[in-house]
């Protein structure tokens, strides 16, 4: 931690001085760590200087040698950052086991298994009849395939090499692997913005930012795992294109964007923030041909590629999320045209033309905009999807779509969660923003825009904290790197000042006046610099010959930024302390807070570790001891897990695409036994699964989620009314609970025979109360399985009761005739 930013300092200097470097014999060690992004040829150029350095220690080492060792050092640091990013996410494997976590990852895992087993074409055409019974779900057309294809590809490559890893293992370790990639992408992005030192700092920060760890621990096989890498990499390529104006990078950028579209619905963030940045550049008069090359191919190629992804399809041009990109696309062309015309016309003529075009153009624009607004306004959601709308209007979901509001990760975050998830970065970000303003370049303005937008989005949905994390890391990396730059330079100045005082003072006085000029030049210098990113041998040689000259300038530049040495040392110490605090917090978060797989729970008690493996117990029981085609009804949270682990058909699952279907299950759970039995029977349900935490105190059980079931059910079926389940607006299950509540199926299935466990009290450890209704029997359901700690209870629907003997004779003939038609399932 201490070393990396320390070497960041000199690197930035080199940047500013156009590849120049400063060196002092007394600071040989530090300088050896200098690095630049220029790939150099170590053998040919370093041979002689190396010998010189070894024979004569007083002679200044060659800059080429320093580039070489710096590059190698940077390479190894990056390698170590990759290892760090990977290994910090293995706490879940070490503390628990190598297993898929939570809910959505189980779906992704199942899709991956299908992909590997049946191949890509069957995957696109996959109609899954194991879920959303009886509707089914078109998986190939409704899933973001990026993650699945990535893991599937990795598995294929491994099996081509005869490495016998299971699909599960590949899936478990996909997220940590891509975290390492994301750290490297952060390095590249930040390097484009503020140089390699800031890049390394940002990379190491991102490697262990808790917010990202929470979504990418080993086993958390979710879209975000690869999407964050894709997001950062797309931004990097955008900045790279912006800095170089290379069409090659622009094409790569489109492909990276395509990968992002494949991976995550959050790609709309990219396709909105890049147009915003382009617009910002145009408005602030920073339009250039590089900007055009960075943007126009992205929109054209990117949109075409995005439309290839089945889940996006025509949405890439139809929905309002993409609207901004097309608008800016038009604007950039208008601006480009204006610049072009300005170039060929005399200023006077241009003025005339401008007034003409503006007046006509305004009228046309108004007309077009009016039509567009009319079209957009005619759609009920204004062309936005529910989740996007709730981003623009944070109260939207809770007002209109309870199903989005019911998900905890769609809630706005609390203040402590910022501290938890990005920790000290929250304090470093403002410093980073300031650093980005001096001087402001295209790249740094993008980073500023990125942080501003992501701060807003993370404030709306806690889930989008994940988008904030890379931005915070980049800016904190810049801030830390700049800080270290200043501190180490001050100390260096002090150290060198004692020996070469005279020389420095002379040089310093002379060059102080040139400083401001240099700063202005910097931006263009950098452009040239990056243009020569991969220069030919000749160019490299020339560059290296030129190195001597600017190094003189670099010495002079540092003079005004020097702090008193004791202040610098103290500040350095404090910064390192801050970094150390961040590391400790991150490791703690990775080890304690975010590594629990949630399907297996552990508690520490006085007599050792207790493992609650009830979920898998129930799923294993279902998979081995029920018929393959039996349907299992549960609240949608457990849908993915049931299909993946128990391989049984479910009614609803975590892909909440059909609100009515979920409301039906919600209604059944909220209804009395008989009504619920009828609903379930009409859905051909054989087993009902409920999660109950009352015995062991597992708080996120179905009773605590019950109000959402009532709400969602009542949203579609108005006979379910939320107030019926509340006593004076209070949700309770004790003796004061409403009769509707106590007679609901969920209550009965949860507490059936619960009272016998503790000798007639029926004390619920989650709600911390005695239950209201203790002794009751089930008439339409039969308990078939309850796990060891009662966390999962499975009930079977009893078959329809036989007629009473006296009546049978009369009805038998009738019911046989009518029975066949009545019993017939409408779905068959």
């Amino acid at each position: 931690m201490g070393i990396i930013p320390a070497m960041g300092g000199p690197m930035i200097e080199q940047r500013r001085t156009g590849g120049g470097a400063m060196y002092k014999s007394s600071l040989c060690l530090l300088q050896l760590t200098d690095s630049n992004d220029i790939s150099i040829n170590p053998k040919k150029h370093t041979l002689k200087p190396l010998m010189a350095a070894s024979t004569d220690s007083t002679a200044p080492p060659s800059p080429i040698l320093r580039h070489a060792s710096g590059n190698i050092l940077a390479f190894f640091i990056l390698l170590l950052i990759g290892v760090l990013a990977f290994s910090i996410r293995l706490f879940s494997v070490i503390k628990y086991e190598s297993v898929i976590h939570e809910f959505d990852p189980y779906f992704n895992y199942r899709v991956t298994q299908f992909l590997i087993k049946n191949g890509i074409y069957d995957f696109w055409n996959w109609f899954d009849d194991r879920t959303w019974y009886p509707l089914g779900r078109v998986i190939g057309g409704t899933v973001y395939p990026g993650l699945t294809l990535t893991a599937g590809m990795m598995w294929k490559v491994l099996h081509f090499l005869n490495v016998p890893l299971s699909v599960e293992t590949v899936c478990v370790f996909t997220a940590p692997l891509f975290s390492a990639f994301a750290a490297w992408a952060t390095y590249l992005l930040t390097k484009e913005v503020k140089g390699a030192g800031a890049g390394l700092t940002a990379a190491v920060l991102l490697a262990m930012v808790p917010s990202y760890i929470s979504r990418s621990v080993a086993g958390s096989y979710d879209n975000e795992a690869v999407a964050i890498f894709a997001l950062i990499f797309t931004f990097y390529l955008y900045i790279k294109t912006l800095n170089t104006g290379s069409l090659f990078y622009a094409t790569l950028n489109s492909i990276a964007y395509f990968y992002m579209v494949c991976s995550w619905g959050g790609y709309t963030f990219i396709i909105n923030i890049i147009p915003m940045h382009v617009l910002l550049c145009i408005v602030t008069g920073r339009y250039s041909s590089r900007l055009y090359i960075a943007y126009a191919p992205l929109v054209v190629l990117g949109t075409l590629l995005a439309a290839l992804v089945p889940v996006v399809g025509f949405n890439a041009v139809m929905t309002s999320e993409h609207f901004a990109s097309f608008l800016v696309f038009i604007i950039i062309h208008v601006v480009a045209l204006a610049y072009y015309i300005k170039g060929i016309l005399s200023p006077k003529m241009f003025k005339v033309a401008a007034t003409l075009v503006v007046s006509v153009g305004l009228v046309l624009c108004c007309a077009v905009v009016a039509i567009l607004i009319a079209v957009v306004a005619s759609s009920p959601t204004k062309g936005w999807s529910g989740r996007s709308l709730s981003l623009l209007d944070p109260t939207y979901a809770s007002k209109y779509i309870p199903i989005i509001a019911s998900v905890s990760e769609h809630q706005p975050p609390t203040w402590p969660s910022y501290f938890m998830d990005i920790n000290v970065l929250a304090f470093l970000v403002p410093a980073g923003i300031i650093a980005c303003f001096s001087p402001l370049s295209d790249a740094s303005s993008f980073v500023i825009l990125y942080i501003v937008m992501s701060v807003y989005f993370s404030g709306v949905m806690v889930r989008l904290m994940l988008v904030l994390a890379p931005a915070a890391c980049i800016l904190s990396g810049i801030a830390l790197s700049e800080a270290f730059d200043v501190f180490t330079r001050s100390i260096k100045f002090y150290a060198s000042g004692t020996s070469e005082k005279v020389q420095n003072e002379a040089g310093g006085a002379a060059s102080a006046s040139t400083l401001s000029m240099q700063n202005n030049v910097m931006a263009t210098d950098k452009k040239e610099d990056s243009l020569k990113e991969r220069p030919s041998k000749k160019n490299k040689k020339e560059e290296k010959e030129n190195v001597e000259k600017p190094s003189l300038k670099s010495q002079t530049e540092k003079r005004p930024l020097v702090l008193p040495v004791d202040t610098a040392v103290l500040a350095l110490f404090l910064t390192v302390l801050l970094g150390a605090f961040y590391v400790i917090h991150s490791v703690w978060a990775a080890a304690e807070a975010y590594s629990a797989p949630s399907i297996v729970l552990t508690t520490h008690s006085h007599d050792g570790l207790h493992v609650f493996d009830d979920f898998r117990e129930a799923y294993a029981w279902l998979s081995h001891n029920t018929e393959v085609d039996d349907k299992v009804a549960s609240w949608w949270d457990y849908g993915y897990q049931t299909t993946a682990m128990a391989n049984r058909t479910v009614i609803v699952d975590n892909n909440t695409w059909n609100n009515t279907h979920i409301a039906t299950v919600g209604t059944a759970m909220s209804s009395p036994e008989k009504a619920a039995w009828e609903i379930f029977n009409s859905l051909d349900v054989k087993y009902v699964l409920v999660v109950f935490g009352g015995l062991v105190g597992y708080p996120s059980d179905d009773i605590n989620k019950f109000l959402w079931m009532v709400r969602i059910g009542g949203g579609v079926f108005p006979h379910i009314k939320e107030p019926d389940y509340l006593r004076d607006g209070e949700y309770r299950i004790d003796s004061k609970a409403t009769p509707t509540m106590l007679n609901s199926l969920m209550y009965k299935l949860s507490y059936f025979r619960f009272v016998e466990t503790d000798g007639g009290k029926g004390y619920d450890r989650v709600r911390r109360t005695e239950i209201g209704k203790k002794h009751f029997k089930l008439t339409h359901f039969e308990e078939v399985f309850t796990t060891q700690h009662w966390m999962v209870r499975i009930y079977k629907l009893k078959p329809e009761r036989n007629r009473i003997r006296g009546k049978t004779k009369k009805y038998r003939s009738k019911s046989r005739r009518t029975g066949s038609s009545m019993k017939k399932n409408p779905w068959h």
Partner: protein, 492 residues
């Protein structure tokens, strides 16, 4: 009735005159019956009993049937005398066809020496190529060490194991009911020889015997049912009996067990065992109430089982126990100098008819199991059967994965198995590893004897993969160096 039948059958089928003379005297029963039997018979046989059974007779026979678990172990003590004129080298054992199907293992040994200095000499037992006996009775022949001279006698101890011969009745039970099973056998020992005196003792796991067929003299003494002694029974005498008793021992049956034994010459032996376990007792009926199961374990779900005990070799390490959805967190491993015991709990208690699948894997040091034979071959010496105690394995597949580059593998197994060869690929293999596959059906713990797999292996093959990796990286670096030295830019 059966006795007569048997003798008539034999009479009709055998062509040897001696037989006819002997049997004719005894079979003066109705002719009609013999014709009926004649019709029901299939004349499949062409050969006749070579060593005439009549030459031998069994002086005394004692059979002990142990019904304590679901694996039925029978010990049969025979004293055989040669009454014929020529020495006899084989003794035949007869089994009814219903038992042959479930016969898992049969062993015989000769009792030598006097009472105090008894010693057991193992004898060779194999299915006889003789024609089937009456009613499809199958024969096994025991080869005596020394042919039995005329007038001489020998004591033979036969032990055999029957699996899946306990039939639950009632077929379905609820959680609160005990498990009752039926056992069918004969009160008389089925034998092609006349038996002078015989007794049969059946041991039941508890005193709770619902009913048993009485064939006088028969008595019940606590957990033992004693049939006999019966005197002078002719060959193929048969008297069916039915014992209905309570047996709550775990009926743990592994439907399929695949064991992969992977040899690595880097010093370890990796074993992976895939189990498909089922509770093969009376099927569970109705709901499963956890509260009853937890609060009244003595009367609720008594026939279910929660634990299984696997006996692994000593010095076992890296043990894992999981199924296809992750680790199963309930297991205990106890290691000691002489053995390791792995106590595993399936995810849920297994009630009748419930199934579970799981995988057990462990690593053993290679030097305990791999040896070099005198002719330079290497051989693996490993146990064949399922390490879990008191389980029946319907089908076991032992796959011995030899290291890449091994040649001429062949297996030596003390009993008959089905064998074939495969090739598997793992960890950067190019030519693949030879796999010796040994399959056997109906396996009991007594099959846990050692088998050997011999093969040729040159140690150079051990270095193949490290060298391959090294060279790949070497060429990667060379390529990187070459790339840095080349100017592939189109800009001049």
């Amino acid at each position: 009735m059966f006795r007569r039948l048997g003798s008539i059958l034999l009479l009709l089928r055998e062509k040897t005159k001696v037989n006819m003379e002997v049997f004719e005297a005894r079979s003066r029963s109705t002719l009609i019956l013999s014709i009926l039997v004649l019709l029901s018979l299939s004349f499949r046989s062409s050969s006749s009993l070579s060593s005439s059974p009549s030459e031998l007779q069994i002086l005394s026979a004692e059979r002990r049937i142990d019904l304590a678990s679901h694996i039925i172990r029978v010990v049969l003590n025979l004293k055989v005398q040669n009454d014929g004129e020529s020495p006899a080298s084989n003794v035949l054992l007869a089994f009814p066809p219903s038992q042959v199907k479930h016969l898992s293992l049969i062993q015989a040994s000769e009792l030598a020496g006097k009472k105090k200095k008894k010693s057991l000499q193992p004898l060779d037992v194999k299915p006889s190529d003789h024609a089937d006996g009456p009613n499809g009775a199958k024969f096994f022949s025991i080869s005596l060490r020394n042919p039995l001279s005329t007038g001489g006698s020998v004591s033979i101890e036969v032990s055999y194991i029957l699996t899946q011969s306990l039939e639950p009745f009632p077929v379905e039970i609820s959680q609160s009911e005990p498990q009752l099973v039926l056992y069918r056998d004969g009160a008389l020992i089925l034998s092609p020889y006349a038996i002078k005196q015989q007794t049969t003792v059946i041991r039941t796991p508890t005193t709770k015997v619902e009913s048993f067929t009485r064939v006088e003299p028969s008595t019940q003494m606590r957990t033992e049912l004693k049939y006999g002694p019966y005197q002078d029974q002719p060959p193929f005498s048969y008297a069916p009996i039915l014992v209905h008793f309570e047996n709550n021992n775990p009926f743990a049956v592994v439907e399929e067990l695949v064991r992969e034994i992977e040899i690595s010459h880097w010093g370890y032996l990796q074993i992976t065992e895939h189990y498909k376990l089922v509770h093969n007792g009376a099927r569970h009926k109705g709901g499963f109430s956890r509260v009853e199961y937890q609060s009244r374990p003595s009367i609720s779900g008594v026939s279910s089982f929660k634990h299984l005990l696997a006996r692994l070799p000593p010095r076992v390490h890296s043990v894992y126990y999981r199924d296809n959805i992750g680790n199963i967190s309930t297991s205990h491993l106890r290691t000691s100098y002489s053995k390791s015991e792995l106590e595993i709990e399936p995810r849920y208690p297994l009630l009748g008819g419930w199934k579970a699948t799981f995988v057990i894997g462990y690593v053993l040091p290679l030097q305990d199991f791999l040896f070099e034979s005198d002719d330079g071959k290497r051989y693996l010496n490993f146990s064949f059967g399922c390490p879990i105690a008191e389980t029946v394995v319907n089908k076991i597949t032992n796959k011995v994965v030899l290291p890449e580059g091994s040649k001429n593998p062949f297996a030596v197994v003390p009993f008959s198995v089905e064998r074939h060869a495969e090739t598997s690929y793992s960890y950067l293999d190019i030519v693949g590893r030879p796999v010796v596959v040994l399959e056997k059906e109906n396996v009991v713990p007594e099959h846990n004897s050692l088998f050997q797999v011999y093969y040729d292996f040159h140690p150079m093959f051990m270095l193949a993969e490290p060298l391959m990796l090294t060279s790949v990286f070497f060429f990667l670096f060379v390529a990187a160096v070459a790339y840095l030295h080349m100017d592939i830019s189109i800009r001049k």
